[in-house]
């Protein structure tokens, strides 16, 4: 029966995606966040559990799993238990449309739905319901306030998010995620830098504005600093998940981290070319190699050798050196695809996640009215104007 096979395939792919998210996003993501936060704050992150602290998240998960399962007495038990499931499942469902790379001729995506990025935006808006349900059913006024604040923040920022998605869909001509990457392949460059052919580099301001609007809205959607007032530990006692213990708390966190990685993945697809390789001339890769060598030399010889940043920056410089040497020789040899596309997609996604984590320790937390002002009075008009201007430019000078 063909439908049974399809159902089993769907379940199998769902398990693969969940494993990827649980291992990469949750475990590696939390570990990276703690390490990077530590380095930015001039301290070392977790170091003891496992080599270089790599098993820290495993230890944390085991700790969370063995915690007591508390349901507050007058809480609505059904909704209290269902709320984290809604958040986690909606965040995981986002990953169905994200293409990870290209293996030969076949794109590695669970399902390339024709309305890919619209589906992504729709699943992000289902998360809000889980948050309100969690906040209300905890029977706790701080949780309720936190839930309502978080929900109002998330629905306010859905509009600039959707406008960023609309921009990319308009330039690409399709809502499907694979279609958007293919449009960038056809154009030969990423949407952030160039618009389709007659316009070329004049599209740079539109692309940068659209990607910055999208990334700001994405940071607010996942309740990260500088937009994490609803979860501020110092003000609202962790907000809408104040009453959640153990695995249900972990499900909320899984949903949030999965959503953050999902936003980074969709941003790489829409603005940074997805799984495509940057097509630079061989001499540009040689310049990148030289740059990495200069950075390593500066760190090793000057007084910066005494700071904590030595090891991570040396590691990054070494990786950059290796990468650009491989690319240099590969493009000199005339290969069309030097490194696997999955590796490029993951590298770009992690670079964006690093950017999001870096923003966390750079800006102070915005107050609720400043946050809502930013969304309604700054990002919404900018997004609309960008859409209008890009549409005008595309119609008059483009296809």
């Amino acid at each position: 029966m063909p439908w049974l096979i399809e159902l089993l395939k769907a379940i199998g792919l769902a398990v693969v995606i969940f494993t990827f998210l649980a291992v990469v996003a949750a475990m590696l993501g939390v570990y990276l966040e703690r390490k990077i936060s530590g380095w930015i704050q001039a301290r070392l992150g977790p170091k003891h559990i496992g080599p270089q602290g790599l098993l820290q998240t495993v230890a944390d998960t085991v700790k969370l799993l063995q915690k007591e399962h508390i349901t507050p007495r007058h809480a609505d038990a059904l909704i209290f238990n269902v709320a984290p499931v809604i958040v986690a499942v909606a965040a995981l469902l986002d990953w169905v449309v994200i293409p990870f790379g290209k293996l030969g001729d076949r794109v590695l995506v669970v399902r390339d739905i024709n309305i890919g990025v619209l589906y992504f935006a729709a699943m992000s808006s289902v998360i809000v319901i889980g948050i309100i349900a969690g906040g209300w059913s905890s029977n706790n006024k701080y949780a309720l306030l936190g839930g309502l604040r978080s929900a109002s923040q998330m629905i306010s920022y859905e509009i600039p998010l959707a406008l960023g998605i609309l921009w990319a869909a308009m330039v690409a001509g399709t809502l499907s995620t694979v279609g958007i990457v293919d449009a960038q392949v056809r154009q030969g460059s990423w949407f952030m830098f160039k618009l389709p052919s007659p316009i070329g580099w004049f599209g740079l301001p539109f692309g940068i504005l659209a990607s910055l609007t999208f990334l700001t809205a994405a940071t607010a959607e996942v309740n990260r600093v500088p937009f994490d007032l609803p979860e501020a530990e110092s003000e609202l006692v962790a907000g809408y998940f104040a009453e959640y213990t153990g695995m249900r708390f972990a499900l909320f966190q899984l949903g949030e981290y999965g959503e953050m990685f999902g936003m980074a993945a969709v941003a790489t697809i829409m603005f940074f070319g997805g799984w495509t390789e940057p097509h630079l001339q061989p001499y540009m890769w040689l310049l990148v190699t030289l740059g990495c060598l200069v950075v390593a030399a500066v760190i090793l010889t000057t007084g910066l050798r005494q700071t904590l940043l030595v090891r991570p920056i040396l590691m990054l410089a070494g990786l950059g050196l290796l990468l650009s040497l491989v690319m240099f020789f590969g493009t000199r040899a005339g290969l069309s695809q030097v490194l696997p596309s999955l590796m490029w997609f993951l590298a770009k996604m992690f670079a964006l996640v690093f950017f999001l984590m870096w923003m966390r320790w750079t800006y102070p937390r915005l107050r609720l009215d400043q946050l809502l002002t930013l969304s309604w009075k700054v990002l919404l008009p900018l997004g609309l104007l960008n859409l209008l201007a890009t549409g005008f430019v595309l119609t008059v000078w483009g296809r």
């Binding site: 609505d76 909704i79 699943m123 808006s125 319901i129 209300w136 959707a162």
Partner: protein
């Protein structure tokens, strides 16, 4: 056979939470049951090959209108009103009217010979709907935009606090 199973499951996911919406005495539970109803309707749209409408249904109904209803429940007496009587005196009459209307509609639907046409919807119906909005139905499109603006301004003015 797979299509029949999918249709049955989606209809149950649509109708059973709808019963909870109209009969539950806990109004927050009723509002949260709207979500599986809307998601079931989304599934029915996907089965009818209208995926753009399905995407918009999740984005607007499950994502925005449900949140709006929950907000208004929290801001009015709903958070504490779970103990007041939720059904009024018209329950027997209302039930009779609803059952009678359902009976009449189902009899009409099953007895009419619908002129079904064999054909396939356009494959990528976002493009088809977009073209239709800007060519055949452009007046509806423009008037809907004006209605959206008017209702946005109106809702803000009505709900604003008077100080």
């Amino acid at each position: 056979m797979g299509e029949l199973a999918a249709f049955m499951i989606l209809s149950l996911v649509t109708l059973i939470p709808a019963v909870v919406v109209v009969t539950s005495s806990n109004i927050v539970r009723a509002a949260l049951s709207l979500v599986p109803t809307f998601l079931g309707v989304t599934g029915l749209y996907v089965m009818l090959q209208a995926e753009f409408v399905a995407g918009i249904q999740v984005l607007i109904y499950a994502g925005a209108i449900t949140v709006l209803i929950l907000f208004v429940i929290m801001l009015t007496e709903g958070g504490t009103g779970v103990r007041t009587r939720q059904l009024n005196d018209q329950v027997p009459l209302g039930a009779m009217a609803a059952v009678w209307l359902a009976f009449v509609l189902i009899v009409i639907f099953t007895r009419t010979g619908w002129p079904t046409a064999a054909g396939v919807l356009p494959a990528y119906n976002v493009v088809a709907v977009g073209n239709a909005f800007l060519s055949d139905y452009v007046l509806i499109f423009e008037v809907t935009s004006v209605v959206l603006l008017v209702s946005l301004v109106g809702a803000i003015v009505i709900a604003r606090r008077e100080d």
